[in-house]
Symmetry: C2
Subunit: 376 residues, 2 copies
């Protein structure tokens, strides 16, 4: 048997021109990436709160390190296994912005707590009990955030008295568990197009959080941190006077969905830094076909968008995109390479093994999607 | 640094009960899988044509071997890298049901041709030229199928004279390239709900294919094979008198989209064999939250469906599913495990590293998703 180049190798090498990258591939425009990174960290620093970058958007150890260098207070992860990837890569402060349920999972959190400061979210007593038992057995400390539902309708308690009941349970596991504060995130608010709608959503959140904090304080439970907010609303939480930390993730990469938000006057403009690179593999008078489909682009927030003017993505199937031209669109030939902007960066990155960092037209670095498939 | 169990290990072990599998995970119900496999291969054998199973649906070397044992004439793959995975695992006959464009890719095909019978699809001269040059340089033989568009509006020539022009180019590269026949697949026809609509679609295809074959024959070009058809229509192509081979893929796993087709009277019934297993991580009077979202289930053909009666998936976000009960639905508690049926098996399997083969409630085997991420 002959040995082929392993298909799991990256589709590019450092120094290569973009025109020779194998496709479909995910590109990062480093100028846009660095500009987004600097601008958002500066804006949050100016507001006087911490930025804990959400790693679920990029799943890349390299990007996480750049975020820490830019001043991030730590990382958010969505799963214990995702946290493990970043902690083993040297990140020393991780919040799992999720409920961690199940023996194997709380034991993983407890073991990670020997290597890093780690905290999790809870909205029910059983989660605290499982975690407390595991933390005691391992002799470690885990921070606990009470998740408060601020309108998302997913996880989180909805009343201050529920939060108080959980704070009492957390207190019963001192010192292995301590109340780190409140986690209050509303995914749907990130994607409200109008700045006023986002402002109203955050104002509602702030009111509910103040109620919770007040009731907890009356009972002697101090909330050091209030954390939440994403790329769509981080500026509002940062200026709210109640949040101590914001959690944007997509801000470094961006996607067409976030670009559809009408920005507030004071928010720094963010540029598209993430692109899919595809090759034209078939061509007809009515359309052309690209070599990237549902296995290269997530479509939960719509189809990706062509960068080349005059061309629109009509449909995706497993491994194909059909694109159609307007009258007067520049012609495309088989073999041409084109860029597309993903509609939703998080699940799109999760489809790829590599991010190709480009400076201009040249490959500057190649970053594995380190936590791809870290579902557990 | 302590060593944690690698999160890339499978979420189960052989002999384990389903209740202890880590989540989110993909399960295969082996009884349903084996029944689907046997029934479809028997039906196609009865019709007197070959079954070349499409590996893009499962990306699993283990499933491919079971399909070969069940009498498959070979495999279909969608990418050269995907073909490499299966050829290196010992499959000796692979058709890439796609246009292969680019120097690195045709060279990969040429090298694979030293290990297995391999063929590809073409719909333009440049694809044949690139492949012919690579095959000559490597001293190998590659089979070539002219793709005919039978209504899909994606790849493929639309007229017999275009097909003839390509056949002449293929002939100019003899003996390294030979015309294997015609590839004629219409993805959209697979998902037409009414049997009559599917029958009309295949009748249209047969008419166009006959025209192409006749014009090629008049010019002295023999078409040994006509290949196409998927899980929705394979029976029609098998009985058409013109197709020599059918290419179902999803038939072994099934999904809610294929289950929405009204079956023809003569087609064997197919059972759901693929399930996502999730854990309830949060619970409220109005809803519960599962630990699998957009990174565990593809949603291009809709949300996954709960197996438990009375519960419906309301929404998915990156790592969560919100499920809502009807009045009288059985209660769910945090920690409960539930099964969901994916809406589209191909891109769902591509999100996972492992398929857990279950016999009843016991893990019988664990299969890696060998070609996950083989995009090139």
């Amino acid at each position: 048997m002959i040995t082929l180049q392993d298909w799991k190798q990256p589709p590019a090498s450092v120094g290569m021109s973009v025109s020779t990258i194998d496709t479909p591939a995910l590109l990062i425009d480093m100028e846009a990436f660095e500009q987004n990174l600097a601008a958002v960290h500066q804006r949050v620093r100016d507001a006087g709160v911490a930025l804990r970058a959400h790693a679920k958007a990029h799943k890349s150890v390299h990007i996480a390190r750049l975020q820490m260098l830019a001043g991030a207070s730590g990382l958010c992860c969505q799963k214990a296994s995702e946290a493990q990837v970043f902690i083993e890569a040297g990140i020393r402060n991780v919040l799992i912005t999720n409920q961690v349920v199940g023996q194997g999972k709380v034991e993983r959190v407890a073991r990670l707590a020997t290597m890093a400061e780690i905290s999790v979210c809870v909205d029910a007593e059983i989660q605290i009990t499982q975690l407390g038992v595991a933390a005691r057995a391992a002799g470690v400390h885990v921070g606990v955030y009470i998740e408060v539902d601020i309108g998302h309708g997913r996880c989180g308690v909805t009343t201050a008295s529920q939060a108080l009941a959980l704070a009492e349970v957390i207190a019963s596991y001192q010192p292995v568990l301590t109340l780190s504060g409140i986690h209050a995130f509303r995914g749907s608010a990130q994607h409200m197009r109008e700045p006023d709608a986002r402002a109203q959503a955050v104002a509602f959140a702030v009111t509910r959080i103040r109620e919770v904090i007040a009731m907890l304080a009356d009972a002697g439970h101090h909330c050091p941190q209030v954390t939440g907010g994403g790329t769509g609303t981080y500026e509002l939480e940062a200026m709210s006077g109640v949040y101590t930390e914001v959690q944007p993730g997509s801000y470094v990469l961006m996607d067409t969905d976030y670009a559809s938000n009408i920005p507030s006057a004071s928010a720094p403009a963010l540029r598209h830094a993430l692109f899919g690179l595809c090759t034209v593999i078939s061509q007809s008078p009515t359309h052309a076909v690209l070599d990237g489909g549902l296995k290269a682009f997530a479509v939960d927030l719509g189809l990706p968008r062509m960068v080349l003017p005059g061309w629109t993505v009509k449909s995706l199937s497993d491994e194909h995109a059909v694109i159609v031209p307007e009258v007067g669109a520049p012609p495309l030939q088989i073999g041409d390479k084109v860029r597309l902007i993903p509609s939703h960066c998080d699940p799109t990155v999760n489809l790829h093994d590599w991010l190709i960092a480009l400076r201009g037209q040249i490959v500057e670095d190649i970053w594995p999607v380190s936590a791809r498939g870290a579902l557990f």
